[in-house]
């Protein structure tokens, strides 16, 4: 090939590549994506409804049963998907001394916030945790190597590590959901296995006071969208920029 042929050849090649990109841009994959609108799952927790029943743990029991969460009976080894914490610990940064002392005895229900910008996902070296298109922060237990970076990164203490073999400490094993083993990190999965079958998350279903509202933020007619538009709500540690999808309603 002489110089002239070479220049002709590369010129044609360049035009080809440019045309390909132009066609892609115009007829585009973007259009295809926007056609199929995704859900964006979120949850709202109503303080006033949640405190109605003294000492109620229906949601925690339901979740921990269906997901085979062990109970070690000591806080050091504790595995939690959904749990209660004192108001001060949960909203320490967002409130002042007066609110804190007023709400001293309030326990707040906590679970994984399924952040829009999840720090745990950023640090996971094996991509064992990632954010799905519908906003759920998933765990792939098959890939977890137990490095616990995600636990260090999570500002909400939503992840627990299996220091011990959990099986003997599961009160009653639910056959339909796998257990976990020693050496992996685990957390709430927003009941993705139930949502995919069209059920509500187990905690939401178990709550008799309707304190937990679950739904789709991308659907402006959903109950949760309407509630968040009309009632005062807060997120945990919003200043960190993680953008939690668990909202607390007043």
């Amino acid at each position: 090939m002489n110089r002239r042929d070479f220049l002709k050849f590369t010129g044609i090649l360049a035009i080809g590549v440019a045309a390909h990109q132009a066609i892609n841009m115009l007829s585009g994959s973007d259009a295809r994506q926007s056609q199929k609108k995704r859900e964006k799952w979120a949850m709202a927790i109503s303080f006033s409804a949640c405190v109605k029943k003294e000492g109620c743990k229906a949601c925690i029991d339901a979740c921990h049963f269906i997901h085979n969460v062990p109970e070690f009976g000591n806080p050091k080894d504790e595995i939690k998907w959904i749990w209660q914490s004192p108001f001060e610990t949960v909203f320490g940064d967002e409130t002042n001394v007066f609110t804190k002392s007023m709400l001293k005895n309030l326990s707040v229900l906590c679970l994984c916030n399924h952040c829009e910008n999840p720090p745990c996902v950023r640090v996971c070296p094996t991509k064992a945790t990632w954010i799905r298109k519908d906003g759920i922060v998933m765990m792939d237990y098959h890939r977890c190597i137990g490095c616990r970076y995600c636990m260090a990164a999570c500002p909400y203490d939503a992840r627990s590590f299996n220091w011990r073999e959990p099986e003997p400490f599961i009160k009653e094993i639910n056959r339909d959901f796998p257990r976990r083993s020693k050496g992996v990190v685990e957390k709430c999965n927003f009941c993705e296995e139930r949502i995919s079958q069209g059920f509500l998350p187990a905690c939401v279903e178990a709550c008799t006071e309707r304190a937990l509202i679950f739904g789709d933020l991308n659907d402006s007619d959903s109950e949760i969208s309407r509630l968040l538009r009309t009632r005062f709500s807060i997120q945990r540690k919003p200043h960190l920029g993680t953008d939690p999808k668990v909202f607390y309603l007043f």
Partner: protein, 125 residues
């Protein structure tokens, strides 16, 4: 010379003693007897495919289920719920006489059961 030959034969006899023993007791011809599932019906894919590639199929199931959110598997034999416990072991409910027999024989040790439930051990609720 004769000494060397005799000792060589003795040596070889000792070396091959275990092989001879196994041939004599019939262990070389041993093939594990697998107990087919009680409920008749076909496997997820045809038997030859399953025998060779079930580990790859399960890997595909795992990634499809967990990472891509696909909960059903369509094969020529029908539509199956993707679940190790709920599908494979629902039919092959006698895991010890089926999966384990073959795995033990071949020295395969899947680590799945430290998390996935075995119907023989965990009663259905």
């Amino acid at each position: 010379m004769i000494k060397i030959l005799i000792s060589l034969i003795l040596f070889l006899m000792v070396v091959f003693l275990p092989v001879g023993y196994n041939v004599y007791t019939g262990k070389t011809a041993y093939i594990p007897v697998l107990q087919p599932p009680e409920q008749r019906g076909e496997c997820v894919e045809n038997v030859m495919f399953m025998r060779k590639k079930h580990s790859l199929l399960l890997e595909k199931w795992r990634d499809a289920y967990v990472r891509d959110g696909i909960k059903r598997y369509v094969s020529i034999n029908g539509i199956y719920k993707i679940s190790l416990t709920g599908t494979c072991l629902e039919c092959h409910s006698n895991k010890t006489q089926f999966c384990d027999r073959c795995h033990d024989y071949l020295g395969v040790k899947p680590r799945c059961w430290s998390c996935h439930n075995i119907p023989e051990k965990v009663a259905k609720k």
